[in-house]
C-alpha cells in the first residue's frame, strides 16, 4: 500500500506570498496515494526536517513529496532527512513550486493551480519510485600515466608528491618525449634539455614513481578506482641492473640506421641510446636491424660489454596490474607534410620541417648545432619559413590551428639570425597568433631583428640551379613573390598519434573528428573524460605549447589525487537497467552510450522444451552515468533509467495534463 506524505513549504513569504499554500495542501490531500499533508514555514529548517521525520514514523509514510524549492537547491537535504528517518532516500521527490512558480508569477489565482499541478506531478512520480541503493566501490590508489613526455612526467611527479604510487608507461626507450628533441623554448629561449632533464631525473629517482620504457598498454578493462591493465614490456636485450651505460657497446656496434630522435638527419647504431641524457640511461638493442637477430651473426656488443649486461635471450614481459586512475599523456605527432606536393618535401632535401630544424640547431644534433642544409652541408644564407602546413587547411590538412607554430617559427627565425649572422629569413604566414604571456613581445622581437613576414601562402617550390625557388603571394601587396632560398622550413601541424583512436578505444573515451581525445566538458571539465577515472594531459587532447601542457598535467594530477583522497566511491544509483525478458539484443543502446557502459551478455533460458542462449544488453553500473540516451534508443522498452523510468515520466505527463 502506497502511503505518500506531502510537505508544502511556505518558504516564508517566498512561496506563501504568491501561492495559496493552504489550498495546495488541501488539493494534495485528494491525490491518489496521499495519506498525509502538512505545511511548514521553512521545511528545510531543523524544525521543518524534524516534522518530516516525525510524520514518516507516525503515518508510516513510504513516499515523501516536498513541495518547496528547486531540487537543485535542497533535494540532497531532504533525501538525507528522509534517510535519517529510515526511509530510502530515493523515495523522496521534490515539487519545485518556488523557482518554477511563486517566483515567476504574481497572481495567486494562476500560481496556486499551477502549484497544485506541480505537486500532482511529483506525487504521480514518487508513487512509481522504488528504493535505490548506491553501491560503494573501493579505490586502488595507484595511478597509471600513459606517455613519458613532459605532460606525463609532470603529472607523475605531482601525483607521487601527494604520496601515491605512479607508473609511467613509455613506448620509446627513454622518457622525455618531444620536448627532448627541442633546442630552445619560447618565449624565454632557455634551453629545452636544461629544464627537462632535471625533471626526467627527478621522476626516475622518485621512490613513488616507476618508469616502464619500451612498454605499451595492451588492454584496459574495469572502471574508476578499479582498472585492470595489461602492459607489455618489450625486451631491451639489456640487463638494466648490470649496465653501467659506459657506451662501449654502442661505439663498437657495426650496424646503424637513421636516428628517429634526430628526425632521420643523423644515424644511430643498432644498440643505441636515443640521446645522451636518456632516462633510463641504458642502451637498447633494435632487433629489427641488429645482425645478431637478423643474421644470427655478430654479438660484438656482448663481447665488449665489461659488465655482461647484454642479454640477447631477454623476452617481452606481460604485466597485469590494477590501477585506480589513468592519465592519458600520449602526446601528438607531426603532420606528414608530403601531403603538400607543391612544397616538394621528400623530393627536395633542403625542404625540412620545424622539428628537423630543431635538431639542426641543437648542439646534441647531427651537425653539432651548426645549421647546415641537408643536401650539401652548406650554410644557408636565405631561409624561408612556411606556417600552417597541415593546420587551418581543410583541403590538405586539418581545419584547426596548431597553436604552437607561430611562436616556434618566430623562435627559429631568431635562432637563425643568432647562429648565422647576416642570414635572411622570410616567413609566409596567414595570421600571427601570439596569445600568451610575453608571446607578442617575442614575435615583435623576431620582426625587429629583420625577419620578413609575408602574409600569404606558397603555391610552389622548385629547385633551380642549386637554389629553391619559392613562389607565393603577398596578399597585403597583392602581388606574386618569388624568393630564392637555400633552405625551406615547414611549420608542420601537431596532429594526433596515428594510433590515438585505438588508444581511445582501450580507454573507453571518445575522440574528436581529428583523433584528439575529448574532454568531458570543453569549459568546465577540461581534464576529465567521459570515463570516470580517466584524465587527459598534454597534446593528446589538442595542440598545446609547453606551459599549457604542464599546467594541464598538474590539473590532471590534482583530479587523480582528489579521487585517491576518498577511501571508496559511492556510485550514483540512477543508472540504466535492462529488463532481460524484453531485450531483443539489438544492442542499439551500446552505440549511443557515451560511456561504453553497455556490453553484450549471453544468457541461457528455457524456451518451451529446449534451453536456448541469446544475447542481451547489460549495464556496467560502474561506468553508467545515467544520461538515459539508451532508453530512447531501445525500441522494445527493455532499457530503463532508474529514477527516471518510462513509467514515471509517462505518469508525470499524465498528471500534468489532468
Amino acid at each position: 500500500m502506497i502511503r505518500i506524505g506531502v510537505f508544502v513549504c511556505w518558504c516564508g513569504s517566498n512561496i506563501a506570498g504568491t501561492v495559496d499554500v493552504g489550498k495546495v495542501a488541501e488539493e494534495s490531500a485528494k491525490m491518489p496515494g496521499v495519506v498525509h499533508v502538512e505545511q511548514n514555514k521553512y521545511t528545510c529548517s531543523d524544525p521543518g526536517q524534524d516534522s518530516i521525520r516525525k510524520a514518516i514514523k507516525e503515518h508510516r509514510l513510504d513516499r515523501v513529496v516536498v513541495a518547496a524549492c528547486s531540487p537543485r537547491m535542497h533535494e540532497m537535504t531532504f533525501r538525507k532527512c528522509a534517510a535519517s528517518a529510515g526511509l530510502n532516500q530515493y523515495l523522496v521527490e521534490m515539487a519545485n513550486i518556488r523557482e518554477h512558480c511563486s517566483w515567476v508569477h504574481s497572481d495567486m489565482s494562476v500560481a496556486t493551480p499551477k502549484a497544485v499541478d506541480i505537486v500532482r506531478r511529483a506525487v504521480a512520480k514518487v508513487k512509481r519510485s522504488v528504493p535505490l541503493f548506491p553501491s560503494t566501490i573501493p579505490v586502488e590508489k595507484r595511478a597509471l600515466v600513459i606517455g613519458g613526455g613532459i605532460a606525463g612526467i609532470q603529472a607523475a611527479l605531482d601525483i607521487a608528491e601527494a604520496g601515491y604510487e605512479v607508473t609511467i608507461v613509455e613506448r620509446e626507450p627513454t622518457i622525455g618525449g618531444r620536448m627532448a628533441q627541442l633546442d630552445k623554448t619560447f618565449p624565454t629561449l632557455d634551453c629545452s634539455s636544461c629544464i627537462l632533464t632535471p625533471k626526467m631525473v627527478d621522476a626516475a629517482s622518485h621512490p613513488g614513481i616507476r618508469i616502464l620504457t619500451c612498454s605499451e598498454v595492451e588492454d584496459i578493462s574495469g572502471y574508476v578506482g578499479n582498472f585492470q591493465v595489461r602492459l607489455r614490456k618489450r625486451a631491451r636485450s639489456i640487463d638494466e641492473a648490470r649496465c653501467t651505460a659506459c657506451g662501449i657497446c654502442i661505439s663498437k656496434c657495426p650496424t646503424s640506421r637513421d636516428s628517429e630522435f634526430n628526425m632521420g638527419l643523423g644515424t644511430r647504431k643498432a644498440i643505441y641510446m636515443p640521446f645522451p641524457q636518456a632516462v633510463p640511461n641504458k642502451p637498447t638493442i633494435d632487433r629489427e636491424i641488429c645482425r645478431h637477430f637478423t643474421e644470427g651473426k655478430c654479438g660484438i656488443c656482448q663481447k665488449v660489454c665489461p659488465s655482461g649486461a647484454v642479454d640477447f635471450s631477454q623476452e617481452d614481459q606481460v604485466l597485469n596490474e590494477k590501477f585506480g586512475a589513468v592519465v592519458a599523456a600520449t602526446g601528438a605527432t607531426q603532420f606528414s607534410v608530403e601531403a603538400y606536393g607543391e612544397y616538394g618535401y621528400g623530393r627536395y632535401p633542403d625542404v625540412i620541417t620545424g622539428l628537423e630544424l630543431e635538431r639542426l640547431i641543437s648542439s646534441t644534433g647531427p651537425t653539432d648545432g651548426k645549421i647546415r642544409r641537408p643536401s650539401d652541408g652548406r650554410i644557408p644564407r636565405t631561409v624561408v619559413f612556411i606556417k600552417c602546413v597541415g593546420s587551418r587547411d581543410e583541403n590538405k590538412g586539418y581545419p584547426y590551428c596548431s597553436k604552437a607554430c607561430c611562436m616556434y617559427t618566430a623562435k627559429h627565425a631568431i635562432l637563425l639570425k643568432e647562429k648565422i649572422p647576416g642570414a635572411s629569413a622570410y616567413v609566409f604566414y596567414m595570421d600571427v597568433r601570439a596569445g600568451g604571456k610575453d608571446y607578442e613581445e617575442f614575435y615583435q622581437r623576431s620582426q625587429e631583428i629583420g625577419t620578413r613576414y609575408v602574409r600569404g601562402r606558397v603555391s610552389r617550390i622548385y629547385p633551380l640551379d642549386g637554389k629553391l625557388i619559392v613562389q607565393g603571394e603577398d596578399t597585403l601587396l597583392g602581388q606574386r613573390v618569388e624568393v630564392e632560398a637555400d633552405l625551406v622550413v615547414l611549420a608542420a601541424a601537431m596532429v594526433p598519434q596515428i594510433d590515438a583512436p585505438e588508444m581511445a578505444r582501450k580507454l573507453g573515451i571518445s575522440y574528436n573528428q581529428y583523433g584528439f581525445f575529448s574532454e568531458a566538458h570543453p569549459k568546465l571539465r577540461p581534464v576529465e573524460t567521459n570515463t570516470a577515472g580517466v584524465f587527459l594531459a598534454g597534446t593528446c587532447q589538442g595542440p598545446k605549447d609547453i606551459p599549457e601542457t604542464v599546467a594541464q598535467a598538474s590539473a590532471a594530477a590534482v583530479k587523480v589525487i582528489s579521487l585517491f583522497a576518498k577511501s571508496e566511491l559511492t556510485t550514483n544509483p540512477n543508472v540504466a537497467s535492462v529488463d532481460e525478458s524484453l531485450c531483443s539484443g539489438c544492442l542499439w543502446c551500446m552505440n549511443v552510450c557515451p560511456y561504453k557502459a553497455i556490453e553484450e551478455k549471453i544468457i541461457t533460458e528455457r524456451a518451451g522444451k529446449e534451453t536456448v542462449t541469446r544475447s542481451v544488453a547489460s549495464v556496467n553500473t560502474g561506468l553508467c552515468q545515467g544520461c538515459g540516451a539508451c532508453t530512447v534508443a531501445c525500441r522494445d522498452g527493455a532499457m530503463n533509467l532508474l529514477g527516471f523510468t518510462n513509467e514515471q515520466i509517462l505518469a508525470e505527463v499524465e498528471a500534468l495534463c489532468l
Binding site: 537543485r72 518554477h100 571518445s510 569549459k523 544520461c627 540516451a629 527516471f644
Partner: protein, 140 residues
C-alpha cells in the same frame, strides 16, 4: 480565443542546463505566463518523442523540449541524439497533422534564464492564438 485562457504546455527539460535555466529565471524573478509545467529529465537524450504524443493525447496544448546547447551536454553527446531524433520526429508529427507551433525544441543553458522566459512567453502567445489543441487528444 479569449486572452485569459491559459494554455497547458508540458516542458521536458534536461537537469543540467534547461532546468537550471528555468531555476535562474525564477531566482531572477523573471515572470512569464503560468502555462508551462516542467518535467525534469537528466538529459535531452532521455526524452522519447513518444512522450510528446502522449502529452498531446492527455490534453497538452503545447510541448517544449529543452536541452543543453549542442557541444555543452553534461553527458557530452545526449543532445546530439536528441537533435537527430526530434528533427525527424517533429517533421513526422507535422506530417500527421500536428500544428508546427505546438512543439518547440530549444537549447537553453543554465545561464539563459532570460531565454527561458522569452521562449515561454512567445510559445504561450502563439498557442493562445491557436486555441486549445484538439488533435490526437482523448476525451474523458
Amino acid at each position: 480565443m479569449s486572452l485569459d485562457w491559459q494554455p497547458k504546455i508540458v516542458g521536458f527539460t534536461c537537469n543540467w542546463c534547461s532546468y537550471a535555466g528555468a531555476d535562474l529565471a525564477g531566482t531572477s524573478r523573471m515572470s512569464y505566463p503560468a502555462s508551462v509545467r516542467i518535467i525534469r529529465v537528466p538529459c535531452s537524450g532521455r526524452i522519447n518523442p513518444v512522450f510528446v504524443i502522449r502529452a498531446f493525447q492527455r490534453g497538452a496544448d503545447g510541448v517544449l523540449v529543452a536541452g543543453c546547447h549542442p557541444g555543452d551536454c553534461h553527458y557530452s553527446t545526449g543532445n546530439m541524439y536528441a537533435r537527430r531524433r526530434f528533427q525527424v520526429a517533429r517533421r513526422f508529427m507535422e506530417y500527421l497533422g500536428m500544428d508546427p507551433a505546438r512543439l518547440e525544441i530549444h537549447w537553453i543553458s543554465a545561464s539563459e534564464g532570460q531565454k527561458f522566459q522569452e521562449v515561454i512567453r512567445n510559445m504561450t502567445d502563439r498557442i493562445r492564438a491557436m486555441g486549445p489543441n484538439r488533435k490526437m487528444r482523448e476525451i474523458l
